[in-house]
């Protein structure tokens, strides 16, 4: 009887030890990142420059939705957008909520100054901006990678700029915001639709997801 009880006790201890060991092993594995990285590309070319007021709304909304350890960068799309100099402001929110709130307030006030001061660009290099966004977000390694493109999606490259390359957006979510229709789009809507379709194909061919949000009153679906 005593021997049987000892055997039972030993078996129970072995099972408990196995459970604890498996728990220790699973908990030692590096956790998946849960933060979000957002890169906002602002088109500062031509007539689209007047839309930048709406961009403030998007920036403030994005800031309000971000949480601790999330990253946010705002960059302009100009003649050559594949450059760190085009990043107007960037922030990675602190782990502490109070510090994160303070950072959000400072970011909002600084970006307002930059947007007011940013000049118009003569050309539009969206692909370069996308490449820069991909590089930035890959370096940050957030759990969720999102690129906002605040543009009419009409790319206008300066002579000599090579942008006929794939943008590696696998695992990225690319959202086109406020894709305004040009005068020529009104004459022939197929231009507008073809433009959207082209970008959609380009993004989805590389494994990314593509979305268009034109109604800025319903930004809740963004993040």
């Amino acid at each position: 009887m005593k021997h049987a009880m000892n055997n039972r006790a030993h078996r129970s201890l072995a099972v408990a030890a196995a459970c604890i060991a498996s728990l220790a092993v699973t908990s030692c594995a590096p956790p998946e990142p849960r933060n979000t990285g957002v890169y906002l590309l602002l088109d500062t070319s031509g007539t689209y420059h007047e839309e930048l007021d709406k961009a403030k709304q998007i920036i403030n909304f994005t800031l309000s939705r971000l949480d601790a350890l999330d990253s946010f960068a705002v960059a302009r799309i100009d003649t050559g957008s594949f450059s760190e100099r085009d990043i107007l402001a960037k922030v990675t929110l602190d782990d502490r909520p109070s510090a994160a709130n303070q950072q959000k307030r400072e970011f909002a006030s600084s970006i307002e100054r930059f947007l007011d001061d940013t000049p118009k660009s003569s050309h539009t290099d969206i692909t370069g901006g996308l490449l820069q966004a991909v590089e930035f977000l890959n370096e940050k390694e957030p759990g969720r990678k999102t690129i906002f493109i605040f543009s009419d999606l009409k790319e206008d490259l300066e002579a000599g700029y090579v942008r006929d390359i794939e943008v590696p957006v696998e695992g990225f979510e690319v959202v086109a915001l406020n894709v305004t229709k040009l005068r020529s789009d009104n004459v022939d809507p197929r231009e507008y639709l073809d433009r959207l379709e082209m970008w959609k194909r380009k993004v989805e061919a590389e494994g990314g997801t593509w979305r268009v949000v034109n109604d800025l009153d319903r930004l809740e679906t963004l993040l």
Partner: protein
């Protein structure tokens, strides 16, 4: 080999089919006894296996029932002993309280009775003595009426009589007044005696009531020690009721703990970070939960030190001095944690205000003016943060009851489950027996023709050999 090729054994498909049917019948007829044997043996084997399983489950169920009864009776015995011990302590306290003043009570009663006796003696009616003038009247009555000196004598006697009557009346009135005064003085004494006797009567009644209660508990205790079915049934239902009530109270306590966690999780994020995760749980939530659990543990130890609960007999068995120190230490820790929680609740309010201001700024609107009554919310949060830990202290009581009754409930559920399983297995076992017979009959359906021929060949009176009969059919 396709179906079409099977039909091509003769030039006529109908004939081919008939040929195959006859061949099939012949094969089935020849293999009839073996097939019956296989079917019945298979079903019998399954029946036997299921019967073995039923026996094993029955044995396990019996052991579980016995173990459950032992646990129930042990718990019931312990609870009853505590109740009876408590009742005896109460009776002892009551007797000490009431009888400690008994000598004084007896002395007071004796004094009161003595005073009453004295007053009664003084108040006794003393009949007035007949005056000497009565004899004088007799003498006068015997005097001769012819004598001239009788008139003044009678007048003198009349005057004396009147004076004597007045004096007697006065004396009578004085005596009556004195008597009434004495009787009136006796009234408070009577009341005092009555009051004292009433008190004694109540004490005796209380003792009698307690002794009746003890009698009842002791008879229940004897039943539990004897392990009667009635006592087991009573303990089982009592255990179930306690389980549900304690579960309900614990659910309320869990709700209180959740509220507590919500109050302090946000400020905890300032300390441990808002984005660290363990599994799917935020570190801040886990830290808040740990604080709550520590408070519950301190409450548990406090209850154990006060000997209100007995989850840890080691604590109850500590020397009194050490137990009192433990009480003080756990209460101090609890007080400190409650103060910390109140502070964190206040911090939460500040953080909420900060977040609202940030959201307002990002929305582009002006900062909303603070309501003058916001201090109520802040005070309520701080009050809850300070009070909830002390409220959670009492969760030790339903927890103890829940743990003790859970064993019984799990045992009862286990017994119920085993009985259900036994029923299912018994039904399945019986079904397999009948299935065997049914399969045998179904097997004979396609070969009805050769069987009919056999039956006609053997004659109507001949019985078919009991080949393939199941044991259930053969055995009486």
């Amino acid at each position: 080999m396709t179906f079409e090729s099977l039909l091509e054994i003769t030039p006529y498909p109908g004939l081919s089919i008939l040929l195959w049917v006859v061949l099939g019948m012949a094969v089935l007829y020849l293999a009839r006894s073996s097939a019956h044997h296989v079917l019945l043996t298979l079903c019998q084997a399954l029946h036997d296996i299921l019967n073995l399983a039923v026996q094993a489950i029955t044995a396990t169920e019996k052991k579980l029932v016995q173990r459950n009864h032992e646990v129930l009776l042990a718990a019931g015995r312990e609870a009853k002993e505590r109740i009876v011990e408590r009742e005896f302590v109460r009776i002892g306290d009551s007797v000490n309280r009431d009888l400690v003043g008994y000598p004084g009570l007896q002395r007071a009663l004796s004094d009161a009775i003595t005073r009453i006796e004295e007053d009664h003696q003084h108040a006794a009616e003393v009949p007035p003595e007949p005056t000497a003038w009565v004899k004088a009247v007799e003498v006068v009555a015997k005097l001769d009426r012819q004598e001239l000196s009788v008139g003044p004598l009678l007048s003198q006697i009349h005057k004396s009589l009147v004076d004597a009557q007045t004096a007697s009346l006065k004396e009578y009135r004085d005596a009556s007044a004195k008597r009434h005064g004495l009787l009136q003085r006796m009234m408070p004494q009577w009341r005092r005696i009555q009051h004292t006797l009433d008190r004694v009567g109540k004490s005796i009644d209380s003792l009698l009531e307690r002794s009746r209660s003890i009698d009842r508990h002791l008879s229940e205790y004897r039943e539990i020690v004897a392990g009667t079915d009635h006592s087991i049934a009573v303990l089982s239902s009592s255990s179930l009721v306690q389980f549900f009530i304690s579960a309900l109270v614990l659910a309320v306590a869990v709700g209180g703990a959740m509220i507590n966690i919500l109050l302090i999780a946000r400020p905890m994020a300032e300390m441990v970070g808002g984005t660290s995760f363990i599994g799917t749980f935020r570190m801040a939530d886990i830290a808040a939960l740990v604080i709550i659990m520590v408070e519950v543990s301190m409450g548990l130890f406090l209850m154990e030190s006060l000997r209100i609960t007995r989850l840890f007999p080691v604590i109850g068995a500590l020397p009194d001095k050490l137990r009192v120190r433990m009480m003080a230490v756990t209460f101090a820790i609890l007080l400190m944690l409650a103060s910390v929680e109140a502070g964190l609740a206040y911090m939460r309010e500040i953080l909420m205000q900060d977040e609202l201001a940030t959201s307002a700024l990002l929305r582009g609107g002006a900062a909303t003016a603070q309501s003058p009554f916001m201090w109520i919310t802040t005070a309520a949060q701080m009050g809850m943060g300070f009070t909830l830990p002390f409220a959670l202290v009492f969760v030790a009581i339903p927890l103890e009851t829940f743990v003790q009754s859970l064993r019984t409930v799990v045992g009862l559920l286990g017994i119920g489950g085993l009985r259900l399983l036994r029923l299912v297995l018994r039904l399945s076992s019986s079904a397999f027996v009948h299935a065997g017979t049914a399969l045998v009959r179904i097997y004979d359906i396609p070969i009805f023709m050769p069987l009919w021929v056999e039956h006609r060949w053997r004659g109507p009176g001949a019985k078919r050999a009991p080949v393939g009969k199941s044991r259930a059919e053969v055995a009486p």
